[in-house]
């Protein structure tokens, strides 16, 4: 392995910045270390993040602090049902002085785009954003514009049972690498939040204002982030872990096969799990996210632990048949389809089922 030393070096060199970033985020989003790590992992794995929770749980705060700590250009767009695709992407306007069309870039031409309450916009606007996410480029009036690198979309959405929401279709949910849910803070954290709000009214008001280069400087530089993202892709994956990921997705597909043909009905040992099958894109995302987790954990190789850590957030929104968001997030996770699938696969001998 000729390129091993560089990765090991990068991993070790990056540890300091990573702890710094995490500290920074955790100081703002209180009492949620796990979610913060996951969000960072998503960013390092070059995936897009969907945060779903009730209003006022700190979704926007998390998105905001992520963008600022990484020193990226950032713009927030509040999605409403009358928002048009051009409002997101941008448009050309005729300039009388120069007699030319001039491009007015929309908020999407930022490195971090926060799409707030994405499921309140009409499907047309949603798909404009999601197309940009997939292609990393937008076309305005027939001219293709590259989006800046690194490009990272954080979308937040309200739970689907809220009034005035257009649920994202599965195909578009699939574009998000992770779906996070913050959940209620614990006692200690909530106390601190209450204390903090009275001290830092400035910052919260900056949130609602959109484009803000507030008090924080970025902890790392843009170039360093790109180096880290590159390093993440080079984290080594052993055959066993690959088989583990394959086994996980196979378990989810077994029920689907049964669903199609009545012959293969759902009475084999584990296929009672009723879920949507995981696509190869999902397993790719799972692998990438696991790599990022390993990287954050100061390792240059992936462990099954990493896969397990990210499995719920990466796969649950691709698996579930009907979202049921009434329960508390932690309660949900323990009984979710994702957990069932994890339980049915042997870690040491994945393909043996």
């Amino acid at each position: 392995m000729p390129q091993t030393p560089p990765i090991v070096d990068i991993v070790q060199a990056s540890q300091q910045s990573i702890t710094a970033i995490l500290n920074k985020i955790e100081s703002v989003v209180l009492g949620k270390p796990k979610e913060c790590r996951l969000a960072l992992a998503c960013l390092l794995a070059q995936g897009h993040l969907l945060i779903e929770d009730l209003p006022g749980m700190g979704k926007t705060t998390l998105a905001h602090v992520l963008a600022t700590t990484l020193g990226l250009s950032y713009q927030r767009t509040q999605f409403t049902n009358d928002l048009l695709p051009a409002d997101v992407v941008g448009f050309s306007i005729f300039d009388n002085e120069t007699n030319r069309f001039e491009l007015h870039k929309g908020p999407i031409f930022n490195q971090v785009v926060l799409a707030d309450e994405i499921n309140r916009a009409s499907p047309k606007t949603q798909s404009a954003l999601l197309e940009a996410m997939a292609e990393q480029q937008v076309s305005i009036d027939g001219i293709t514009h590259e989006l800046p690198m690194p490009f990272f979309v954080i979308a937040t959405q309200n739970p689907l049972f809220h009034a005035g929401t257009y649920p994202l279709p599965e195909s578009q949910l699939d574009r998000f690498m992770m779906r996070l849910s913050l959940g209620f803070p614990d006692l200690k954290a909530e106390k601190q939040i209450l204390l903090n709000t009275s001290q830092r009214t400035n910052q919260t008001s900056a949130d609602s204002k959109g484009n803000s280069k507030a008090d924080n400087e970025g902890v790392i530089a843009e170039a360093e982030l790109i180096v880290m993202q590159d390093a993440v892709t080079q984290v080594s994956v052993s055959n066993d872990v690959l088989e583990y990921i394959i086994a996980l997705s196979h378990v989810s597909r077994r029920a689907y096969n049964g669903h199609i043909s009545p012959v293969n009905n759902t009475d084999t040992i584990t296929s009672e799990i009723s879920c949507k099958p995981l696509s190869p894109r999902a397993s790719k995302a799972l692998l990438q996210a696991a790599k990022a987790m390993a990287f954050i954990d100061n390792r240059d190789y992936v462990l099954p632990d990493d896969v397990q850590a990210v499995f719920y957030v990466v796969c649950q929104h691709r698996l579930e048949m009907q979202p049921n968001r009434q329960l508390d997030a932690s309660q949900l996770e323990s009984s979710s389809v994702a957990r069932q699938i994890l339980n049915s696969v042997d870690v040491l001998n994945p393909l043996g089922y």
Binding site: E272, S344, L348
Partner: protein
């Protein structure tokens, strides 16, 4: 070939998974067969047994049906239990697993004692009846009995294998009794099904249809080996006695009484085939296939001459030859392929001699042929016939007497008629013609459903009922001729046959064709008479021709066919088949295929094998033959070994656990003894944490061990590093053991 490799890898990977799982949970020995597989296995059992059902006695069938129904019931109950459980399940993984175990077939809770007693009773019954049914049949009973009972105790994987193997044995055994193409195809299909059930057990994430495809492909690949074995493996004669129980069902019997053959004609089974090669097939009305000559009449039925007298006459006629008759008469040479009839008689057209291999064929004085053994396998022989040549010209005193005798006073009215005729017509042939005229002119009818006769009285038939089948007319005619003082005898056999020209299937009258064969079915069975005329020998007279000429000239009339299909009450009766053109064409095609199958595959006997070797390797010496067989066996075996070796190698690669895996598994086993089981879905790190909580004194050593294991397993290391780390891990393991002992 590439595809094949992939497949074997996949299968082996599955198998490896299975093996690993088994070693891990040996103590529990939980053998889970999914519901669908269990039902498939059950279906497989039912079908396999149904193939051989005809050979089993009724009580055995009843027992088997009972136990299969019981198994089905248990399966069904298991399902209900599973359903009710899954309704109120909480979705945690643990109850989930329990659930699936409830669902599985091992839930069949028949106590082994009951089963044991049941099995013992069955065996006793088999032993008791063994004498009656013969050794082969009782062995078969035992096989099927165990096959049906084995389904009750599917506790481990080896039970599952045994059940499937038994199924394959049952299929193989069924081929002892029938070998025709249709049956072989059915057996092959069932073989595929059985193997697919096995495959389905290992790769159940695939659909059953894909598994069947895989099995078919694998079987086709193994066909090469099968062909080699087929060609070179020494043909051993069967060391069992094929039972004779079926003789009543098919074919002609030694004795015949009015009404007998009419029953036989309901059967559409094949009797034999004749291949005339490039020669012209004779007219339908000349195709009198003689099987038996019945010379004794006791007033009720016709039977063959007693054995000892027959032997005498046969000896007298031994030196009979055709030299004189061959002049001026064109010979007709053909091959006959007899289906197993479980009788000894063979079929031949009027005067004929056996050409070619005459081993085991005995020519009789009355120009019929007998096989020395009962025909239990398809047999072929070549004959040359001289259709227009007269049969035996001389009549011994003894046989003259025999062919004139009849019980006096058994049919007084006919005797009277005979005397009258004797008075009116001096010439024998004219007298015969007179009888035929009576039959032709009076209101006689030819029917498959003749009214029953009291004591088989010919009087009653001839004067009252006046409706009968060929045996009736032949009987009456022979009787009248005998009563009027001219020797006459009854001949049974087959008339006609269906021409199957593979190339021009549309034409089944068979007069123009140059290639094809005749298929003679049971419904072609016929009886006719022969009378002795001085100077002309035995002449064939068929009284049927004067009541229903169509039967003799071209086969069954539509009226008869209709009658037959009504009697059979069969959707696929011949009559209906013949009416639908494409179906008939299809039937003929299949018949042609079946002919080739019988000729080349079933007819491939020791002699054919010998000839083949002779063709390939020149003059055969016994050592050469032995050498060829040995070499080809060695080659095919080594091919098999090579294949198995390759399979094993690809299997051992992933199977051979790495050193660190073995070490970790050992330590896991040690911990399991302490009551700390690692759930399979738990990662190594999480388990280490768990251990730390449960027994802190082990924490440090085990965590270190786990960390080393993780690195060895998941990190990409150079071999050097690996060895070093392995050493450390071994040391850590020693530490771990030491701490554990304390």
């Amino acid at each position: 070939m590439i595809f094949f490799n992939n497949k074997s890898k996949k299968v082996s990977a599955d198998a490896v998974g299975g093996v690993k799982m088994q070693t891990k949970s040996k103590a529990k020995s939980n053998f889970d067969l999914s519901r669908k597989n269990a039902w498939l296995l059950w279906l497989c059992q039912c079908l396999n047994i149904s193939v051989i059902a005809l050979e089993l006695s009724t009580w055995m069938l009843a027992i088997i049906a009972l136990s299969l129904a019981w198994q089905a019931l248990l399966l069904h109950q298991g399902r209900e239990k599973g359903n009710s459980l899954s309704k109120n399940k909480t979705v945690s993984g643990h109850t989930h697993r329990q659930n699936s175990r409830q669902n599985s077939r091992q839930g069949t809770n028949v106590s082994p004692i009951v089963l044991g007693i049941f099995a013992l009773l069955g065996c006793v019954a088999i032993v008791i009846t063994a004498k009656e049914v013969g050794i082969l049949a009782s062995m078969l009973h035992l096989l099927c009995f165990s096959y049906a009972l084995k389904g009750f105790e599917l506790r481990s994987r080896s039970d599952f294998y045994q059940l499937l193997l038994l199924g394959l044995f049952v299929l193989a055994a069924s081929l002892i009794f029938r070998q025709d193409l249709a049956f072989s195809l059915i057996t092959f299909a069932l073989l595929v099904l059985t193997l697919a059930v096995l495959l389905q057990f290992f790769s159940f994430e695939k659909t059953f249809v894909t598994n069947i495809k895989v099995v078919v492909i694998l079987l086709c690949q193994s066909a090469i080996l099968a062909i080699v074995l087929f060609l070179v493996f020494p043909r051993l004669s069967p060391f069992w006695q094929v039972p004779l129980a079926k003789s009543a069902e098919t074919g002609l019997s030694d004795t015949v009484k009015p009404g007998d053959i009419a029953n036989l004609t309901r059967s559409t089974k094949l009797a034999f085939r004749a291949d005339f090669g490039q020669q012209k097939v004779p007219n339908y009305s000349q195709l009198y296939w003689r099987a038996m000559v019945l010379e004794e009449y006791d007033g009720r039925q016709w039977s063959r001459q007693h054995k000892f007298t027959r032997n005498k006459t046969a000896a007298a006629a031994k030196n009979f030859s055709f030299d004189n008759s061959a002049t001026g008469v064109s010979p007709l040479s053909y091959q006959v392929l007899v289906e197993p009839s479980f009788q000894k008689y063979l079929f031949a057209l009027a005067p004929s001699v056996v050409t070619g291999d005459a081993k085991g064929i005995q020519a009789q004085a009355d120009h019929t042929f007998n096989n020395s053994k009962i025909i239990s396998q398809a047999k072929s022989y070549r004959l040359t016939s001289y259709l227009t040549a007269p049969l035996t010209l001389e009549l011994t005193k003894q046989s003259r007497q025999l062919n004139l005798s009849y019980p006096q006073g058994s049919n007084p009215r006919l005797e009277q008629l005979a005397l009258q005729l004797q008075h009116n017509y001096v010439d024998v042939q004219a007298r015969a013609q007179a009888v035929l005229n009576i039959i032709n002119k009076e209101n006689y009818s030819y029917t498959l459903q003749p009214p029953l006769l009291k004591n088989n009285s010919l009087d009653q038939f001839f004067f009252d009922t006046q409706a009968g089948f060929c045996v009736h007319y032949a009987s009456v005619f022979t009787f009248v001729m005998r009563a009027s003082g001219s020797p006459a005898r009854m001949v049974t056999g087959y008339l006609g046959g269906e021409y199957n020209g593979v190339t021009n299937t549309g034409d089944n009258t068979g007069k123009l064709a140059n290639k094809g064969h005749l298929s003679i079915y049971q419904y072609d069975a016929h009886a006719w008479s022969e009378i002795w005329v001085e100077g002309k020998g035995w002449l064939r007279i068929d009284p049927t021709s004067s009541v229903d000429p169509e039967r003799v000239n071209s086969g069954w009339s539509t009226q008869l066919l209709q009658q037959q299909s009504e009697l059979n009450n069969d959707l696929f009766s011949l009559y209906r088949m013949k009416n639908i053109a494409w179906l008939n064409a299809l039937r003929l095609q299949f018949d042609a295929l079946d002919y080739q199958w019988t000729r080349w595959v079933i007819g491939f006997t020791t002699k054919q094998q010998y000839d083949l070797f002779k063709n390939w390797f020149g003059q055969m010496v016994s050592w050469k033959l032995a050498l060829i067989i040995a070499v080809s066996l060695v080659i095919s075996m080594s091919m098999l070994m090579l294949f198995l070796h390759l399979l094993n190698r690809s299997k051992t690669k992933p199977q051979s656990l790495t050193k660190w895996q073995i070490l970790y598994q050992k330590s896991m086993a040690k911990l399991a003894k302490q009551g700390m089981d690692k759930p399979s879905s738990m990662t190594v790190n999480d388990f280490a944490k768990e251990v730390r909580q449960q027994c802190p004194e082990l924490a440090i050593v085990f965590t270190r061990l786990s960390a080393s294991y993780n690195r060895l397993c998941y990190q990409t290391l150079s071999t050097n590093e690996q060895e070093k780390l392995m050493l450390t891990m071994q040391q850590q393991y020693q530490h771990f053991i030491q701490v554990l002992k304390k």
